[in-house]
Structures are given as structure tokens and as C-alpha cells.
């Protein structure tokens, strides 16, 4: 279990972070998924873990949308009172936010393909998770990566019109 945890916990946190855009929340969700894994002891722990984590992230996003509507009202009332202060890692955070938005702009299947591949899943596992033929994973992945880069660059261009577009 320990070896499995050491290998998959960091990947799961990164996977969830790309999904929810918040590191602390990603770690909380990953912990919750692992606690459930220990209790259920599924036959295929890797796939099970990522599926559960994905569902947790989805539930959390639903709750967050509700919270966000509530906070917008409070935020509008308090905006004038708060001093935003300096943001030393603003550029990195903006970039991470662009990546998150580019991912959010992709079709669900492309997003899953990208993130599972990035987490180290093999073609066979990705095919099972996403529901496609194993033989088609390679070309779908290429297409998903291309769409992801294009979406990212479009967002970047909108924010920085002076930047030149260079899709590889």
C-alpha cells in the first residue's frame, strides 16, 4: 500500500489540481479518495482511485458554483474595503489559471485523455476509463493535445494581444 501511495498520490494531486485549480482542495480530495480506497479495497485500485477522485472533484465543483454565487454578493459589498496587496507569484498563478481554463474549455473526453496520460496511465487503462478503443488512444491524444494548446494560446492572445501565436 505504501509503495502504491508513494507512486500515485502525487500524480493524483496533480491530476486533481488541474481539475479544480486549487492545491489544498486537490490534496483534500486525493486524501478522501485514498481513505475510500483503503475501505473498499477494489480489484483495480488505480482506475478506481481516479474514478472516485473524478467524481469527488465533480461534486465539489457543483458545491463551489453554489458558494461562488453567494460569495459574489458578499464580495461586491466588501470590494471597496479590501486592499488586494502585492502578489509575488501573480504571473505563475495567472498561467496556471489559463491552463485550467483551457482544460475546462475542452470536451470532457479530451480533458480526461490529457490528464490521464499526464498522470502516467497507459493506453489500455485510458481506453477503459474514457470508453474508447485502445488502438485509437494515440490519435485521440494527439488531437486533444493540439486542441488544448490552441485553446491555451487563444486565451493567452485574448489577454495579451501583443503576443504572437505559435502553435507547434
Amino acid at each position: 500500500m505504501r509503495a502504491f501511495f508513494d507512486l500515485w498520490y502525487p500524480r493524483l494531486v496533480r491530476y486533481l489540481c488541474a481539475r479544480v485549480g486549487d492545491r489544498d482542495q486537490a490534496e483534500d480530495l486525493a486524501q478522501e479518495a485514498f481513505v475510500r480506497l483503503v475501505r473498499h479495497r477494489p480489484r483495480e485500485p488505480r482506475s478506481w482511485l481516479f474514478t472516485v477522485a473524478e467524481n469527488l472533484a465533480r461534486d465539489e465543483a457543483r458545491l463551489a458554483r453554489g458558494r461562488s454565487r453567494h460569495l459574489q454578493v458578499i464580495g461586491a459589498e466588501r470590494r471597496d474595503e479590501l486592499d488586494p496587496g502585492p502578489e509575488p507569484d501573480l504571473v505563475a498563478r495567472e498561467d496556471a489559471e489559463r491552463v485550467r481554463r483551457a482544460l475546462a474549455g475542452l470536451p470532457e473526453r479530451d480533458r480526461s485523455l490529457l490528464l490521464l496520460h499526464h498522470a502516467g496511465f497507459r493506453y489500455g487503462e485510458i481506453a477503459r476509463e474514457v470508453g474508447v478503443a485502445p488502438g485509437s488512444v494515440g490519435s485521440l491524444l494527439t488531437r486533444a493535445q493540439r486542441r488544448f494548446l490552441e485553446t491555451y494560446l487563444e486565451i493567452h492572445e485574448r489577454e495579451h494581444p501583443e503576443a504572437r501565436r505559435a502553435v507547434p
Binding site: M1, R2, A3, F4, F5, D6, L7, Y9, P10, V13, R14, C17, A18, R23, E27, A30, Q31, F34, V35, L37, V38, R39, R41, P42, R43, P45, R46, D89, A92, A96, V99, A102, L114, L115, H117, H118, G120, F121, R122, Y123, G124, E125, P134, G135, S136, G138, S139, L141, T142, Q145, R146, F148, L149, Y152, P168
Partner: protein, 269 residues
């Protein structure tokens, strides 16, 4: 983007690897033989090398964006937190369920085969002076991805004599993720008990016995110096299993420090 496909007869174009194969080559998803063929083609085809480079560039850019350098995750901290949340049982309980009695019996049989193999090997390694070869040892080397079904879940148990060749081996799937062969791990392959395969022993007397040979070293992967070894298991003149490994520790035999590269019959589908 790669330049347009060079004008060539249709039969030449058909020989180029398709986009699927090229992408699978990049992601190391091709089987050993297909990979070798693809590598050979790439050596002689600048157009396909260009296509591969374009795929690699795409992969590089996408990975770079997805890899947040600020997101270094410390598994130790996470593990401590998990212990608090799930209790100390997290260390003791196997990850996979124990399964049906039939599965347990099958797994138990696999473990028993290994034990019997080891005992027979120890008998079979009796030296000229009649002293048992007590140096024979079991090694459990885990984990690699031998079946293309996921990273690091296949293990190999070998029976070896120090400084000599592998005498017997068992391939298993580390289903419970504990990094070692245990009761519920399915056995994928087990060589039959063997007798010490001395070249001088009479081959006729052991025509049906399982022979395990460890031949090192050649440059099978064309990756540099001759540091690749082959372990073959055969019986009755028929090869049952082949394992390709990299002799990383330079011992000229398969040992625990050597990464496994490929195993026959467990290739990715």
C-alpha cells in the same frame, strides 16, 4: 509540422508507420517487436523522423503546461495524514480484496510451486562432493510493467545461484500493490522445477526437463554497449518464455538491479 510525404511508389508509402503507430512509439506503447521495426524504419526515413519530432514537440508543450513546477507533492506528508484519517490499518490491510476461495487456492498453488521449485533446485544443485547448494536463493523483483496494463504492477521471482544463471522464474501481477508476491497476486507464468542445467549433464536424460538459460550480453535494443541479456525457459525443445533485461549492474547475469525490458506472452495488446 512535418513536410509533405515524399513522392514515392504506393508500396513505399504503405511501409511508413501510421500516425497511431508513431504516437504509440513515442509513448513507448508498442510491443517489443513492433518497436524494433519502427525504430529500424525511422533510422532510414527522414520524413518519419520529422513526423515523430512534431509529435514529440506537441507532447513536450502539452506536458510543460500541465506540469506545474510549484506543485511538488510530498507523499510522506500525505501518508501521515492518511494514517490519521484511515487509521494504522492502512499499513496492514492488502489493497485488493482477498477474492473467492478458488482464486485464493490458485494463488496459494502458485506460491507452493515456487516453494517446491526452490526445494528441488536446492537438491538439483548438489555439487560433486554431495554438498547441497545452499547458496541458491529466491529473489522477488518488483515492479515493472510487463503486460502494458499499467505502470509497475508486474513482478518476477527468480531462483538463482550467485554469479550464475537464473534457474527458475515466476512472473506475477502485484495486484495488491505491496511490491512483493503475496497470496492474492495472480501468477502469470511459472517455470517448472528444473535441474541444474550443466552443459556436461547428459541432455538425453533430461529431454523433457525445463531448461532456463540466461545469455548475456548483446545490444538487442541498439541503445549503446552490449548490455542486454535474454532469459529463456524451454522444455522438450520448445521455448516457453523469453525475458529481455538490461544488465545494469554489469554482472553478466539477471539480478535484482537489472531493469526488465520485455517478457514474451505479456506484450501489450
Amino acid at each position: 509540422m512535418p513536410s509533405p510525404e515524399p513522392a514515392s511508389p504506393a508500396r513505399d508509402a504503405a511501409r511508413h508507420p501510421g500516425p497511431e503507430s508513431l504516437r504509440a512509439y513515442l509513448d513507448r506503447e508498442l510491443g517489443w517487436w513492433a518497436r524494433l521495426r519502427c525504430a529500424r524504419h525511422l533510422r532510414g526515413c527522414p520524413w518519419c523522423r520529422e513526423r515523430l519530432a512534431a509529435e514529440a514537440e506537441l507532447e513536450h508543450h502539452a506536458s510543460a503546461l500541465l506540469a506545474d513546477p510549484a506543485l511538488e507533492v510530498d507523499p510522506l506528508e500525505g501518508w501521515r495524514r492518511l494514517e490519521t484519517l484511515a487509521g494504522p490499518a492502512v499499513r496492514l490491510r492488502p489493497l485488493a480484496p482477498l477474492g473467492s476461495p478458488a482464486r485464493l487456492a490458485a494463488a496459494g498453488l502458485g506460491v507452493a510451486v515456487i516453494a517446491v521449485t526452490a526445494v528441488l533446485l536446492l537438491r538439483g544443485t548438489t555439487g560433486p562432493g554431495g554438498q547441497a547448494g545452499a547458496d541458491a536463493r529466491l529473489q522477488d523483483i518488483c515492479c515493472w510493467d510487463l503486460d502494458g496494463g499499467g505502470p509497475g504492477d508486474d513482478g518476477v521471482v527468480t531462483v538463482t545461484l550467485p554469479g550464475q544463471q537464473v534457474l527458475g522464474l515466476t512472473v506475477y501481477e502485484d495486484r495488491n500493490g505491496n511490491g512483493a508476491l503475496s497470496g492474492e497476486d495472480p501468477i502469470r507464468f511459472a517455470s517448472a522445477p528444473v535441474e541444474r542445467p550443466h552443459a556436461e549433464s547428459a541432455p538425453a536424460a533430461h529431454a523433457s526437463a525445463t531448461i532456463v538459460r540466461d545469455v548475456c550480453c548483446s545490444d538487442y535494443d541498439r541503445g549503446g554497449p552490449p548490455d542486454d541479456g535474454l532469459v529463456t525457459v524451454s522444455a522438450g525443445g520448445k521455448v516457453l518464455k523469453v525475458l529481455l533485461y538490461e544488465d545494469a549492474d554489469g554482472s553478466r547475469t539477471f539480478s535484482s538491479g537489472d531493469p526488465m525490458r520485455w517478457a514474451s506472452g505479456t506484450e501489450a495488446k
